[in-house]
Structure formats: structure tokens, C-alpha cells
């Protein structure tokens, strides 16, 4: 790992000191992108993170002001072997599940051009779950400081080992992209011993572009297996009660909270209109899970902005709604279960609330300033509002992590101020 880190740093130095892609000849090129970002939070009760599936800590409780939320560096090596055959690897250094910034191999694939309009990729790729999936980490390519967290952390599959097809037929002035994908993945997540596995990742991304308008529909699904010591402990608690034979509800709940190869679906539609001077874009998505450990979710955002010379002011509203029950009330009156019903309720309620994000929405106002070619300076204010479910204590966490005890007991408002410098060469 030390050698890889050193190599990554040396390559970054070369790419970024030149401020441009490096053509190594013989079909090899190196390109880079990155963000240096500083965020301040008004609330020290919990941490805000840009990606709760990846980042272990953020800004707020850990520090008032932090560099770790948005900062990252990416490097991509492309090799065009023949007219039809190319290879790409991309390393990305950003805060990981274990708080380190060790570079991760985000992409490593071979691409083959079957026809000019039909390409196939195989290796480590990112499944096209969202409209912006492919460049979520390249902040320079988006107007905002960061993609709306409410929407873009709903499907945790950042990369997979698999294949996808890129078919780009065009009919008159209408250009299509039909992108089916298939793969498997195994990813570490924040928290000691936590990870998840996804089998049978299967989906399709359909995009149509006509002039300034792009419409997009996506469907993705996977069979998810979760690994987490606290989850295992809760599940075995239910199993122990089930095995006493005194409370059949415990057995039903043990099955409902099973997390071995459980199907999770994410479907979404999106639109992007951009005439050069003005843009409006948004996505709407729904998540459905076959295990009660993963909540059903409705999430969406809409964003608009104007380009005035080098300045791009924008406004965004984004929303995340947990559609699953957040408490479990089984039988507590059954005298024959010797009080085990209350224990089942407590474990089940803990599982419903524990790992799942709760309701949150954000209004963001910001400005992008393209002060020189390939660099953008951005400033953004986010006003985040979490809400509780029916006023229940412990359901007001929103998408925050590292909460102090009591953070989720009432609706909370958090203001963030962010300044970032983005680049892509």
C-alpha cells in the first residue's frame, strides 16, 4: 500500500503541476481531477458527510470546520491499444470508511468497440444507477459543491466487478443511450467490521437527448448481504427468543430482518434541460427492499441556475423520505411469552431506526465561478432540516452520522457553508 500511495502522489504531482492531461505516447494518457474543499457546520451534535456510504466522519461534531468532507484527488490512466480496444484505470483518494485517504481503484476496465455505436466494458466499473452516476466524484463537471446527498447516497453501490453495454443509436436529431449492466461487488462501509455484498447487480439506464433536453429512466437491483457485528447481535437476539418457542412473533421478525441475499430495487427518472444560459435538472427515485433492515425510500431533487459570464448562481431543493415503519409493536399482552414480546419490540424498533437514514431536506444556494480554464471556485450555503417520525424520539437523525446521544430526538436545522476549488485536466 505504501508503494501505491507514493506512486499515486508522484503521478498526481506530475499531472497537477502541468495542469493538463499528459500524453505519454504509444496510446497512453494520464488525466486527473480533484477538489479542495472547506466546510463549516453550525451544529456540533452530529457529522455531515458528502457520502454516508463511504465516509466515517465529517463536519459538525468531529470538527466545526473540516477539509475531509469534499476534498479528493483522482487520477486516470487510459491506454488506447487499438482502434477498437482500450483500457482505463482510475484511482481515487478521498476519505474512506476507516478515515484514511488511501487511494482506491475506482475503475479498471477493458473497453471494446463492437460497432461505432456499440461498446462493451468489462472489469471494475460504476453501475449507471443515477443520471449523474458516472461523474458523481468529478465535482468540476457539476454546478454544485457536491451532488445533493439526499438523492445520491440512496444506492450504495459505488463500483462493481461486471460488464456493461453502451449502445448509442440515433434517430434523426434524437440521440439515445441504452446501457444495461450486470455485476457483483463487495464494499466496506463505515463502522468496525461493517461491509456489504451485492450479487446479481442488474440494471438498465435509458437516456434520450433532443437538443437542450435530456430525459432519463433507470432501473437497478441487487441481492444484498449485510455484515455488521451489531446487526448480527440483534438478529441472534431475535433467533434466541424464537427458539424458546414462546413467541412466534420473534420468529417472523427474525425472518423479516434477515439480510442474506435480499433483493433491493432502485428505480428513478430524471431530466436535464440546459440551453447554455439557463439549466434545470432533477431526479426522482424510489427504493424498495426485501429486508426490513434496509428501509424503503422516496427521494428527489430539483436544481436550477443561470450562467452569467463566468458566474453560475444556482438553487437546489432535495428531499429524502424514509417510507418504512420506524417502530415495531408486537404482542406485549401475551402472558405466555413471559415478557419476551417487549424484548422483540425493542430489538425490532432498534433495527428499523439504527442503520437507516431518516427524513431530511435541504435548500442549497450557491455560486460557481469559472475563473480560469479547467478550474472552478464554488461557494455554497446549505440549510438542512431533519424531521422526526410522528414526533418519536430517535427518528430525527436525517442523514447525519456520528450523532451525539439525543441528536435525533427532535427536528434539527443545520447550516453549512462550503468553499471548494475544483479542477479537471
Amino acid at each position: 500500500m505504501k508503494t501505491i500511495n507514493a506512486l499515486f502522489v508522484v503521478l498526481c504531482f506530475f499531472v497537477f503541476s502541468n495542469s493538463q492531461a499528459i500524453d505519454l505516447g504509444h496510446g497512453f494518457t494520464i488525466k486527473g481531477f480533484g477538489t479542495a474543499g472547506l466546510v463549516n457546520s453550525s451544529n456540533n451534535g452530529a457529522d455531515f458527510v458528502a457520502n454516508s456510504n463511504v465516509q466515517a466522519s465529517g463536519v459538525g461534531r468531529t470538527n466545526d470546520t473540516s477539509l475531509v468532507v469534499d476534498s479528493k484527488l483522482g487520477l486516470q490512466l487510459d491506454y488506447q491499444a487499438t482502434d477498437r480496444l482500450s483500457f482505463a484505470v482510475q484511482g481515487l483518494s478521498r476519505q474512506q470508511y476507516n478515515k484514511s485517504f488511501d487511494p482506491i481503484l475506482e475503475w479498471a476496465y477493458v473497453k471494446f468497440k463492437i460497432l461505432p455505436e456499440l461498446h462493451i466494458r468489462a472489469g471494475r466499473i460504476r453501475p449507471a444507477i443515477y443520471m449523474l452516476s458516472d461523474y458523481l466524484d468529478v465535482n468540476y463537471s457539476n454546478p454544485w459543491v457536491r451532488p445533493p446527498v439526499e438523492f445520491y447516497t440512496t444506492a450504495a453501490i459505488d463500483r462493481m466487478e461486471g460488464v456493461d453495454l453502451l449502445w448509442r443509436p440515433s434517430i434523426g436529431d434524437l440521440s439515445w443511450l441504452v446501457q444495461p449492466y450486470f455485476g457483483v461487488t463487495d464494499l466496506k462501509t463505515p463502522g468496525v467490521g461493517n461491509s456489504f455484498k451485492a450479487d446479481n447487480i442488474l440494471g438498465i439506464n435509458l437516456t434520450g437527448t433532443y437538443s437542450d433536453l435530456t430525459l432519463r429512466a433507470g432501473f437497478g437491483q441487487g441481492d444484498i448481504t449485510l455484515f455488521s457485528p451489531s446487526l448480527t447481535q440483534a438478529q441472534s437476539g431475535l433467533n434466541i427468543i424464537c427458539n424458546t418457542g414462546l413467541d412466534p412473533i420473534a420468529c417472523a421478525q427474525y425472518n423479516a430482518f434477515n439480510t442474506t441475499r435480499k433483493n433491493v430495487i432502485f428505480s428513478s427518472v430524471g431530466a436535464n434541460w440546459d440551453n447554455g444560459n439557463y439549466f434545470v435538472l432533477g431526479e426522482f427515485g424510489k427504493r424498495f427492499a426485501k429486508t426490513k433492515v434496509i428501509s424503503d425510500v422516496t427521494t428527489w431533487y430539483i436544481s436550477g441556475g443561470a450562467r452569467i459570464n463566468k458566474f453560475t448562481p444556482y438553487i437546489t431543493y432535495s428531499s429524502y423520505h424514509n417510507d418504512s415503519p420506524v417502530t415495531f409493536n408486537g404482542d406485549t399482552n401475551n402472558v405466555f411469552n413471559l415478557g419476551l414480546g417487549a424484548a422483540v419490540n425493542q430489538i425490532a424498533t432498534g433495527l428499523l431506526q439504527g442503520g437507516n437514514a431518516m427524513d431530511q431536506n435541504t435548500i442549497s444556494l450557491g455560486m460557481r465561478y469559472d475563473f480560469m480554464s479547467k478550474f472552478a471556485l464554488k461557494a455554497q450555503w446549505d440549510h438542512i432540516q431533519t424531521s422526526t417520525k410522528n414526533g418519536l424520539a430517535g427518528t430525527g437523525d436525517g442523514l447525519f452520522v456520528n450523532q451525539q446521544a439525543g441528536f435525533g430526538n427532535s427536528p434539527t436545522q443545520v447550516d453549512l457553508f462550503s468553499v471548494t476549488l475544483d479542477f479537471a485536466f
Binding site: E117, S141, S170
Partner: protein, 141 residues
Amino acid sequence: MTRIMPFFLFVALVLTASSIQGDVVVVMSAKSNVSNLSKNTVTAIFLGKTPTFPDGNQAIPIEQSEGQEAYNEFHRLVTEKSTAQLNAYWARIVFSGMGNPPREVANNDEVLKIIATNPYMIGYLEKSAVNRTVKIVFAPQ
């Protein structure tokens, strides 16, 4: 007054016509079978959204360097994107493995030289530089 009105109208028309006629034109090899392309098709090809011409043949766009007069005119009139927008757009495509920006050449002469050799290539240049090795497939208004 009624007699000079038509004259003014004529002058106004000539002036308008010459001012809306852009100085940049989209060209292909004279040997190419493609005759006319729409603005949307040219935009889709130069932004890598479509890899082919309407007849199904592969399309190979040729860009000029950032900062060239023809580059500025072409993107102002055809793709309608600023340099910053184009950079952001290509960053998306490149870092998502969806493709690469078009091959880039230095100036009008280089465009002529390269286009003339390959009937699948498409480029743009200042109208005054056009010669008989290429044909105009789209003239932005």
C-alpha cells in the same frame, strides 16, 4: 418616400443576411457522401453523443484548439457552450469512461489537411479558408 422604402428594405436585408451568416462553416472531405447536416446532428457528433452520421457511417469530429477564432465561433453558434461548459462536459465524459474529446488540431490549415484525407472526418473552419478538397455540410446562421 414610398420610392426609397424598397431600397432601404433591400439594404436592411443585405446587412442582416451578411451579419447573420457566420464566418465559420462545418466541412467534410469532398469525397464524402454526406451532403447536409442539421445543427443538432453536428452538435451531437462534436459532443460525442452520437458516433455516426445519419447514414450510419462512423463520424470522426476534429476540433480546433481552445482559443482559436473558429473554435469560439463554432461553439458559440453550434454547440452553444462556453469554454468552461465544454471543459466541464468533457470532464464528465472522460472520467466516466464514456469517451474522449475529439482529436484537436491547431488551426484552419491543419483542419483542411486532415479532413481532405478521410471521408469520415468532420471539422470546422473559417469560411475564407475553404478550398476544393472539402465541402460545406453545415453553415451556422
